[in-house]
Subunit: 339 residues, 2 copies
């Protein structure tokens, strides 16, 4: 039997739940013949959704019943304590038990991180897991972390984020020495807060390909392969970008629908405009890695549709193939021994 | 004699120096017949630039000689100590001496803030001045502060920023009760760092029209009139937006210039595209207020061209008319007495 990459999907979470996850699962089975999926959630609802999508009984798809669902606004601690049979928890348990190689969930970030951390545990040498995602840039894309798992990160944490991000990019982008930069508010050495300055010193002494500070615009200019920051800062940068992208789309749309003449211009420009939208389509970048855990966990955007969720499944598959947690663990051990 | 609003311009700073400031000054004199400008810098170079722009000897324009220039990468402390005859310093001195009602400089932010703070002093009750600017949003615009003057802001500082931002918007946008929000990484009360949570409590107990937390996308969705954050976070949000805007423009341009057909589409779409560009043109929002000082100081973007610099002059004029520092001072005194 050939290799199968087994991915557990939290089928009930996210704004769209089953109506995004089921078609995404079916698409992924089509795209990847080496993927085996386990849909976790209310079995009857899953079966119904599959029938609706005319799925029949796909060979590489299993259903695992879970009776509860973690709400999108549920407190992480509450989800962890009280929802032991949630689709999210059961899907993560499958990874811990070795029945799945990765989990993908569009559930609430706090609950997902807390549960994954509790069930899977962090890798030795890693204090805090971090959330990392690829963001489109003028040079391709930039990986950025942390995006909200941690606030008030100390220098040592930022250093660990850099290490994990670098190893992720080495694995999934096949870049032998990813350029790692620290997000700061100025490129001069005097700027920044104490944590960033101390992390800068740690990184300068590290074997990583550390290129120094970048400012916020460096994310999109593609000034680095990995950009490291505290989770508060990273989350604000990401959400700010989402807001600006929405405004840009909104204004372009308004401009092209103002009158008959602009509508015509819009029609003529359709190939350009849809090409542009595709290039910056956040769905094609959906899927953030929870790095630093003893297992692969991918967070899909809460609002992800089936195309976006399918992308997150693809990321899970790549991380399985690349054995990302093992590689991070090896690298941490190697660097800790060098210190 | 009618009222004259006297604005000192640091004529030598910024990436473009005189070649941006002189035409901006001439444009402002045309736009506003109540504005009197004092160009501060190397007198001969200023006169030469004026001749180049065919300016003659405008009635409401004075030149004040200053022999030095603060470099764009000069350390703030060095500029403050060693460049006592810089165009920046002399322009600020004019405000302190009562010879000008406001100063505008495109010089380096750190040096400008340090010098303005040293020369003008902070208002009573204000611990730290903050940088505030308007950002275009889907609802018009949002004022945001701090944008980089402070890192590691404590709750009390964030509270003071909120108060200053609210009073600025009351003055310049004529909104009686601006909606004030705190930038956070989630709208749920449990998220955020300690400073933000503590500032949230202070603001809930304040007479400001405080509407709670917003995430980064709220800046562009127009969820609030004033968005308050630490300077590290605000600067990253602003620079990230600059980077994304650059990428969007770049990709649209590339899309419309790909071949003859797309060029034609671009030509047909020109009115829409230039309307779009105009709406989000950062030059039309250029001019950040250094709030919390005993005087009006406006920071123009280092890369500002003459159109952008002229906009900053307009902002200085509005703040003079509205007596912004006095109004902030009155409001601080009022609120401190209430506590």
């Amino acid at each position: 039997m050939s290799t199968a990459y087994r991915i557990a999907l939290d089928a009930m979470s996210g704004d769209h739940g089953l109506s995004a996850v089921v078609p995404a699962a079916l698409a992924a089975l089509k795209d990847f013949d080496d993927v085996h999926l386990i849909l976790v959630g209310d079995e009857r609802q899953i079966r119904d959704a599959m029938t609706q999508h005319g799925a029949g009984k796909p060979e590489r798809l299993q259903v695992r019943h879970a009776s509860e669902v973690v709400a999108m606004d549920e407190l992480p601690a509450a989800a962890l304590k009280k929802k032991k049979d949630s689709s999210m928890r059961v899907a993560i348990n499958l990874v811990q038990a070795g029945e799945a190689d990765a989990v993908v969930s569009a559930g609430n970030t706090g609950a997902l991180m807390a549960t994954a951390r509790f069930v899977l545990r962090t890798l030795p040498g890693i204090d805090r897991p971090a959330i990392c995602t690829a963001i489109p840039s003028m040079q391709g894309h930039t990986h950025m972390l942390d995006l909200g798992a941690n606030v008030d990160s100390a220098a040592e944490h930022l250093y660990q984020f850099a290490l994990m991000g670098s190893e992720l990019v080495r694995s999934v982008d096949n870049k032998p020495a990813p350029r790692v930069a620290l997000l700061n508010i100025g490129e001069e050495a005097i700027k920044g807060n104490e944590q960033v300055k101390a992390a800068n010193r740690l990184l300068q002494d590290s074997p990583l390909n550390y290129t120094g500070y970048v400012e916020g615009d460096g994310i999109y200019l593609g000034s680095a392969d990995v950009i490291v920051c505290d989770g508060f800062v990273g989350n604000v940068a990401l959400k700010t970008s989402e807001g600006l992208a929405k405004m840009v789309n909104n204004r372009l749309k308004a401009g092209f629908t103002r009158n008959a003449l602009t509508r015509l211009a819009g029609l003529v420009s359709l190939p350009v405009l849809s090409g542009f939208r595709k290039q910056v389509d956040p769905r094609r970048y959906n899927g953030a890695s929870l790095l630093g855990l003893r297992g692969i966990a991918i967070k899909s955007h809460g609002g992800a549709d089936s195309l976006a969720f399918a992308n997150a499944i693809g990321i899970a598959r790549t991380e399985i193939i690349q054995k990302v947690p093992q590689r991070i663990s090896d690298r941490v051990t190697e660097l800790l021994n060098k210190r």
